[in-house]
Assembly symmetry: C2
Homo-oligomer: 740 residues x 2
């Protein structure tokens, strides 16, 4: 039996054999020779040639074209349809009614020399999907990023947004958080603009000279309350099939409570310039050549936005290569194909890699390869408005996926630069191994090495030490922002989200605008398509290894390592909150705030805050120790097995792999997270008040952040229970492995 | 005998009696009732009514007016004259010659509603005093703040400024560092501009709506190499009397090697906008609505500046109240009276307080008060071009001052807000005691309490602990920036520099421009003159205590505490440099820089750096322990003496006070600091590459910073010697005290 005490367990960790080197595998090496930059270029050029948002003619044409490509490469390919709510705007007005009239243009001009930008009839205008209808006129208040901390600051300044329209800049959180928090504070409308500080001329030259956002560029996007649930607002938790039971729109919880519209910085400037009142705090100020004021007054704004609230058809492309030995074990791979406009970067740079992988796997089929498991490739529709295609598909096939899915591998935008890898930590070793096999196109280093050196360059002293000593690089935990969410966080399928980026200026300046197109991409993006090629090599290699390994290549020590790290963070979060509250109260007693505020700029004392209670983490500690012991036990057995001859009993193997698939499922609870049952994973979730930003151990962490102490205590027990279940699932897998 | 070992010494410190409460003193309490805001207002209005730079008619009129006021209040007042080099511009040109013509306006427009700004005939234009003559045309390069680290960054980008004109923004160092470092790197000219990020619209509304710098506002200033020596460039180290031996101008070391001119942000924008090449690093970018590029090219600039290199007469106002018991012990108090233009804030807000103190002391004289020591009040001329009036006076009277000066108390600009107090740590207790007696006008707290609470609000956890537990607040060490420099750093006279500020936006936006005038001051500055009144109360109280105390009220434990703290910092500096060099070299070996730079934006590896040697600080440690024991011994004796009856032997008292004056002198060396003999103080100096910014333990610290290891070793020994001398001087004073 393996030691269960923390001390013996730590000792055992130290005694384990060093991790083995990269696996040699003829098929994945052959695979890597196939992807070509020319092919990636041709897919990208074709798919981004015209606007192809959900419901567009070109979007459907793209789906059919991709289906036909898959079929031509030897895949079993189909289009799967769903019917989802997808509002598009009928009327949009943003105008200043005082102190002087100004009407926002709300349009992105055609860029000379970039013909794609002239496809006006097919372009969706700048708007926010799932904003409520609204027609309001009210004083304007500038709220910085519009996150909860910004409203605390406003409150101290004595400024209320009740009955006001707020103007927030993009950044600091996912955009959908802004109208949600504004509404919670009583605002009647929200305008979100792109400040040149964040993705315009402050950062670099603007398009067409450089890659950054031009003055009239607008960031479209979804504002559905996806931290509550993604997917069709009318069919939470179930597939939006034609005959699904639908909510009344008024009962849909993910549509905003107040109207919201995005504007460019050219349109925002007259609004911001008309604000008086307090000068905005320094960290709130952007790069417009004005003094930023908070308001309210004298600016009054009229905001009107009305939608066509229609159902629209999702066209997911789903293609399969059936597995030879284990057809009921699936490796699922996806990227979305819908864009806000032409979307050369987002999403076609990733979709093109998916297609090139598919072509290359087709080549292997011709060479006689047959994967052990079934491979499912998907091009999702409707990701932009709310992960619609992936969510509805995952909800529709939930039972089958829970039974069969080995892993889900996602990509989205892809650019020059460094590997960015997030996902389930059971896949950490696999991903590190694959990253060591791929060459970075511009430096000739392995992708893994460049990733490591970049982390070293950016790391603290402590982080550098780990980066140099740890065999593998850590995967980032996943929040949200792309199609992995239903697979990982709703169904508990081990997932990866991969892509290159972070070089130069990136694509933030054309994100969700009409300027994200082929011309931009071939001047400022992955101009030679080598990173598209590298992405295809990387993800395809991972797919082949996952599909062909007899035993699913999970490792559980990295999962334990990650969970322990997050538990430490949560503990520190509470300790820091306790210390901060005590210090704040002490400063209130000392009169620090009264003594240091400018008497000309009255500012209220912050609220006295009860010092958070200490919480008992013993249950969590015990569960983590138990989980760690199980993880070490399994990984040790699995490492030993690698040296034994590869003749197995097929049924025993099937049983083992089924038990392995159950391990990530064990990290979910059917009840979901407190207040948002759709999110079932207990280790990773998007933050309720950050949007895309991840919250690890979300049940415990968010209860502490929101000062719900009783819930925090309950969630510690819940989490300990889940970790115990996962440890048992790993033990089961270990037992099955020993029986092989 | 007092314990000399560190451990016993620390024990002794812990056993010392708690510091005594504020001293009751009828005369300084009576004094504090006299100052009136109306008087302060009337001085300020009068003195700032017309431009009054060095050599101006109104400057001379102000000197005479002040002399007459002093005389009317019962002081013995005179004007003392010196003849100094003071260049003013004959011709100034900044123009873009490529890629398009643009000629900078180089003028500050009259502001409607502020008649003072229309006194054009008397205003000095925007220029830099002690710039070299020059007429150059060259490519332009943007160098951020133009400090050494910025040139390291440029070098890594592959950009040389050899033969170029550099444009630097104000900030990051004292302005005179910018042309000095530019010339060291081969530049042929320097333009310095005020970025709106630093003191313009980014910070707050601009004048006349708000207090910040308007688009055409220019910061004048000196660029003499004052970290080498302040004062007249032609008479280093000696008074610039009419018949003094003068250097040839070509041999003057403090005149810049290349021409330099300041410009507004309206004038800078077309220059910066015409730069191409690399986008400037993020932290280099200001708040102009442009993408900041580094250049060089295509911008070519013509910079021409020619001066009248004439001698000009300094008019220092010097007034005395002779001491009754100790006429040869002087308490010296000063503020400058010259401005760049009208200078309501700089320097009249401080000068007005000096005058109000003088009036109030005159009132005490009428009530029968006669100070024990001589009080010397001064209004310095020519501070702006280079601390000319104070330096030449101090150099002329050096021997007498070394023999007689008990302390020098300086003020300069004064505004609403918090006390800012720097100086010799022997005066730390005195200043803390006085600050506890003064009421902050806007909060009603004591000035001391508001100061403490402000430090708590801004402090780290560690700093807050000390702030709450230590009896006194620490004085800031003094670098340079006002007239204390010759007294403290050249002559070794215990000094204080005091002022209020830090509330709201401050005066940085009109600093050294025509807009620093009465209208601005009465709208945005110390509008009700209550902080002028408080400053007079504070400094006057300190003057009275210093003038009347039988035993000069120095304490040496704070001096030991400060020196020990600085020694710890210097040690940490070396350790950090060692660690940083080792880490950098390791990253070079690992290829971190090559792997992480953008291949499209080539960037050289940083230079490999020899890891600094460990240095032996044992001599310094021993000397500090010795010094600490002497300090504790003296302070303990002095505290005991306070309880004994006040009948003393006059000669013994004189001897004791002479020995006390010698203690700060003992911290100086006749040889001065390495490479800059004028600076003699071994604890405090302005930084050779920071300008105003202080370097404590400068001999050791700057040797480490500049990687001169042999010099660092020598300077450790030198510093240990100086601390030993100071300890002996304190012991001598202690012995004299015991003989009382």
């Amino acid at each position: 039996m393996f030691p269960r005490s923390p001390v013996l367990f730590a000792l055992a960790l130290a005694l384990l054999p060093a991790p083995a080197g990269p696996r040699e595998d003829a098929w994945d090496a052959r695979f890597r020779a196939v992807p070509r930059t020319d092919s990636v270029r041709s897919y990208l050029r074709h798919l981004s040639a015209r606007p192809h948002h959900l419901g567009s003619a070109y979007g459907l044409a793209n789906a059919r074209w991709m289906r036909d490509r898959f079929a031509a490469w030897g895949w079993d390919a189909q289009i799967e349809r769903f019917e989802v709510l997808f509002p598009t705007p009928r009327e949009r007005v943003v105008e200043l009614v005082a102190p002087r009239p100004f009407r926002a243009r709300l349009a992105e001009p055609v860029m000379a020399g970039d013909a794609t930008t002239a496809q006006r009839a097919e372009q969706l205008p700048g708007y926010h999907a799932y904003s409520a209808d609204g027609d309001v006129t009210a004083p304007l208040v500038y709220v910085n990023y519009g996150v909860p901390a910004d409203y605390e600051r406003l409150e101290r300044m004595g400024i209320s947004v009740k009955g006001a329209i707020v103007i927030a800049r993009y950044g600091g959180s996912w955009r959908g958080i802004k109208p949600k928090v504004a509404a919670e504070h009583g605002a009647v409308g929200t305008i979100i603009y792109s400040d040149p500080k964040d993705d315009g001329y402050f950062v670099g030259d603007v398009y067409p000279t450089g890659p950054m956002r031009p003055r009239d560029g607008v960031q479209r996007g979804s504002v559905a309350d996806m931290p509550y649930h993604p997917g069709d607002p009318l069919t939470p938790g179930v597939g939006a099939t034609r005959d699904a039971r639908r909510l009344d729109r008024k009962d849909a919880k993910t549509i905003t409570r107040i109207p919201v519209l995005p504007v460019s910085y050219a349109d925002a400037r007259p609004l911001l310039e008309s604000l008086a009142g307090r000068v905005a705090p320094e960290e709130w100020r952007g790069a417009l050549p004005i003094t930023y004021h908070v308001g309210p007054g004298p600016a009054r704004v009229h905001l009107k936005v009305l939608f066509d609230w229609k159902l629209q058809t999702i066209h997911n492309v789903v293609a399969r290569i059936p597995g030879r030995e284990a057809p009921d074990e699936w490796v699922v791979r996806g990227n979305h194909h819908d864009a806000w406009v032409n979307g050369a970067v987002d999403p076609i740079s990733g979709m093109a890699a998916v297609l090139e992988e598919a072509r290359a796997l087709g080549e292997l089929l011709k060479q006689g390869w047959r994967p052990r498991r079934t491979i499912v490739y998907a091009g999702w529709d409707g990701e932009e408005p709310g992960r619609l295609g992936s969510t509805e598909w995952a909800e529709t096939h939930a039972d089958e996926l829970r039974a069969k899915a080995v892993a889900y591998l996602n990509t989205d935008s892809n650019q020059r630069g460094f590997l960015s890898a997030g996902g389930s930590h059971s896949l950490e070793r696999l991903l590190n191994d694959v990253a060591r096999e791929i060459t970075d196109p511009e430096t000739g280093l392995t992708v893994w090495k460049r990733w490591q050196l970049n982390e070293i360059a950016r790391g603290t002293t402590e982080a550098r030490k780990e980066l140099r000593e740890r065999a593998d690089l850590r995967l980032d935990p996943l929040g949200s922002g792309s199609d992995y969410t239903p697979f990982l966080q709703h169904l508990g399928i081990a997932s990866l989200n991969l892509g290159f980026g972070g070089e130069g200026f990136g694509s933030s300046g054309v994100y969700h605008s009409i300027y994200d197109d082929y011309r931009w991409f071939t001047r400022f993006g992955d101009t030679t398509f080598t990173y598209g090629q590298a992405l295809a090599q990387l993800v395809g290699s991972a797919v082949i290894r996952l599909a062909d390994a007899e035993v699913i290549p999970y490792q559980f020590r990295p999962m334990h390592d990650a969970a322990s790290k997050y538990a430490g963070e949560v503990r520190k979060l509470l300790a820091d909150r306790r210390e901060a509250a005590a210090e704040r109260n002490r400063q209130l007693d000392e009169g620090v705030f009264a003594a240091t505020r400018d008497p000309w700029q009255p500012e209220a004392d912050p609220a006295r805050e009860e010092v958070p209670p200490a919480l008992d983490f013993a249950l969590l500690d015990s569960a983590l120790a138990r989980f760690g012991a199980s993880a070490v036990h399994y990984d040790t057995l699995a490492a030993r097995m690698r040296d034994r001859p590869a003749v197995r009993d097929a049924a025993a193997l099937r049983e083992l792999n089924a038990k392995l698939m159950a391990t990530e499922r064990a990290l979910t609870r059917a009840e979901g997270l407190p207040g948002r049952p759709w999110y079932r994973h207990q280790i990773y979730a998007p933050g309720f008040y950050t949007g895309y930003g991840v919250k690890t151990l979300p049940g415990v962490r968010e209860a502490i952040e929101e000062r719900r102490w009783e819930e925090a205590r309950q969630q510690i027990a819940v989490l300990a229970g889940v970790l115990g279940d996962a440890a048992r699932a790993i033990d089961d897998a270990g037992a099955a492995l020993e029986r092989l």
